[in-house]
């Protein structure tokens, strides 16, 4: 177990390091002065000089890279070009909105998708199963940013039931929740389909196993067999799927934040791209990809912890 843990951690660290390397070298792939590129055409000459000094642009490139990595490790991601505030501080303010949206979106999808998949697997090839199957493919095929736009059109602009933009008044929980509903619906919808399909497929496989037959033969209640025994095994591939699909979830979160003007990480990166505020882009991208890598790592570890077959083989 310790070896496995060390290996997975080492691999994740290597990937993050490579991501930093790519982000760092992007600046140097573009011809021109890195300081001017990073700060954009609107930066004052003083800001350029300060940036050049701060980024140690007079040093060789490899030394600059090491300094950048060293700074990032201590939480120093540079400063915002316009407000001069530390990038890490700005990200800290925005991260909460993104995490709330991701958890709400994934949360309702799990709460609906997993039971749907179970029910479909318990009654395979019935009308219910077929309808769930078609709806699953349907929701998977609709791009999430389109769901965002249409949800905005129908429920905010057309019916006026829910607010269209922003994240709600700070401190007013009800207002914040009402601002969360539409974007969370939009990013979760295709996940309902994904999860229902995945759970159905692995449940069908598990339900054919001998120990499920034994449990049934002992006269255990069907609900206990399905949710107590079969689901515990069938949920494992689903956890892997959530881990692997998290990158896609981040992408749809970026869209939802932009469309609903929600001040999260994605909106921050987008605005920074438009303003050519590269320190913010660099820091934001690093945090977003780091988030993804951590989630994949956690999902792998949860599997190793939950599945005795994997646990024993470590």
């Amino acid at each position: 177990m310790a070896f496995y843990l060390a290996k997975r951690l080492g691999l994740s660290a290597a990937v993050i390091l490579l991501v930093v390397l790519v982000l760092f070298s992007l600046l140097y792939l573009i011809p021109g002065d890195p300081a001017t590129i990073a700060l954009g055409p609107r930066a004052t000459p003083e800001a350029v000089a300060r940036y050049a000094e701060k980024m140690h642009l007079d040093e060789p490139v490899w030394a600059q890279f090491l300094i950048y990595v060293g700074n990032a490790l201590t939480g120093d991601l540079g400063v915002d070009v316009f407000s001069d505030r530390p990038v890490a501080e700005i990200i800290g303010e925005r991260l909460g909105f993104t995490l709330a949206l991701v958890s709400a979106g994934l949360g309702w999808a799990v709460l609906l998708g997993v039971p749907l998949g179970c029910l479909a697997a318990v009654r395979p090839n019935t009308v219910f199963d077929r309808i769930t199957g078609v709806l699953s493919v349907g929701t998977i095929a609709v791009p999430s940013f389109l769901v965002s736009i249409w949800a905005l059109l129908i429920f905010a602009v057309g019916l006026g039931w829910l607010p269209a933009i922003g994240a709600g008044e700070p401190g007013d929980l009800g207002d914040q929740i009402s601002h969360l509903i539409l974007p969370a619906f939009a990013i979760g919808l295709s996940w309902v389909g994904y999860l229902a399909r995945m759970v159905r497929a692995s449940m069908l496989e598990v339900m054919g196993e001998n120990y499920i037959r034994s449990a049934r033969a002992f006269g255990l209640r069907p609900n206990k067999v399905v949710f107590g025994y079969a689901l515990r095994v069938a949920i494992l591939p689903t956890i892997t799927l959530i881990g692997m699909g998290f990158g896609g979830l981040i992408s749809s979160t970026v869209f939802a934040e932009i469309i609903f003007a929600r001040p999260g990480l994605g909106k921050m990166i987008f605005d920074a791209v438009m303003a050519r505020n590269f320190p913010i882009v660099q820091g934001g991208v690093l945090v977003a990809t780091g988030l993804y890598i951590v989630v994949v790592l956690i999902s792998d570890l949860v599997i190793a912890w939950l599945d005795p077959r994997v646990r024993e083989s470590l």
Binding site: V15, L26, F145, S202, G248, F255
Partner: protein, 314 residues
């Protein structure tokens, strides 16, 4: 499965004393392969999912290729007097903020989607196939290095990677293509790698090696034909991803630039006037959904018929 009498008769090899038993066996094998092919074609033609997918895909191809003949107006012809009109006899699904005919723009937008999908999918398939075969067949260290690279690319959520790059280079069609290709290569490479690994120890590969065949010969003559099938199915499933990425990036203003019509730019312009007219965001989304749905249905039907095991994974 019930087996009727006539099928049994076909299945029994006819004994012909004038021929060598090997020849008779070969004939039977060829016959059964042909029968299997016919059976698969029949399965495809009778699956409603496969046929719906095929029809949608054909409509997509036809409307994109014949757009100049089908479009009632020039997609860039401005008519301010008739701006933001709803569906009328002259403009079937209305006009945009400059009075351009939305239906014509959608037809032309399909051309952009088709172009990106055709180039993006074919280039990433070929590169992914080669890298995957190298990873699967080559030495262990090369495999590990390539896997690390694939993981790194996957660690960037597509939109985040696009945002980071656009911040430096500015939006363009070429950039969308590059991002689509870079992010999908790992998908193909992983499938090709797994298939190559399982072939590596197969008897016919070992025999070929012991006869002194060169590595490129083994890879391209013997491994590739066995690996390319699942990749083609994956390609059908990747088209929706590619089309969605193009539309999404263009929607954000990071891809195809106005005045060029693309489903993404139509959605973007529609989003900006969403409070004045719902028609543009409705009309821009429908072809996107139909195309993704078509390719998803087609890919799934092909996968179920040719490779039922591939269904798990993602």
């Amino acid at each position: 499965m019930s087996v009727n009498r006539s099928e049994l008769d076909v299945g029994q090899p006819a004994v012909d004393s004038s021929r060598l038993p090997e020849e008779a066996l070969e004939d039977t094998m060829r016959e059964s392969a042909a029968r299997e092919r016919r059976e698969k074609l029949r399965m495809f033609l009778t699956s409603w999912q496969g046929m719906t997918g095929l029809i949608l895909v054909l409509v997509f191809f036809a409307s994109a290729i014949f757009a100049p003949w089908l479009a009632p107006y020039d997609p860039n012809a401005i008519d301010i007097a008739n701006r933001l009109s709803g569906p009328t006899a002259a403009h079937w699904i209305g006009t945009d903020q400059l009075g351009r005919d939305t239906f014509s723009r959608i037809l032309y937008g399909g051309r952009v989607a088709l172009k990106i999908a055709a180039i993006g999918v074919s280039v990433s398939l070929v590169v992914g196939l080669i890298l995957g075969m190298i990873a699967g067949y080559g030495p262990r260290w090369l495999d590990n290095l390539l896997l690390l690279l694939f993981d790194t690319v996957r660690a960037f959520p597509t939109i985040i990677l696009a945002l980071a790059t656009v911040a430096l280079t500015g939006p363009s069609l070429e950039l969308v293509l590059a991002i689509v290709i870079i992010t999908s290569i790992p998908q193909y490479a992983r499938v090709a790698r797994t298939a190559t690994l399982s072939l590596k120890a197969a008897d016919f590969i070992l025999a070929e090696r012991s006869l002194g065949a060169s590595t490129p010969r083994i890879l391209f003559h013997h491994v590739m034909p066995n690996v390319v099938g699942p990749l083609l199915i994956l390609a059908a499933m990747e088209v929706p991803v590619v089309v969605t990425v193009e539309a999404g990036l263009s929607f954000l203003g990071l891809g195809v630039l106005p005045p060029t019509a693309s489903w993404g730019t139509i959605l973007n312009e529609g989003y900006l006037v969403i409070r004045d007219t719902p028609w543009m965001v409705i009309a821009g989304g429908i072809p996107l959904i139909l195309t993704t749905l078509g390719f998803t249905f087609l890919g799934e039907a092909l996968r179920d018929i040719f490779d039922p095991r591939m269904g798990r994974g993602r």
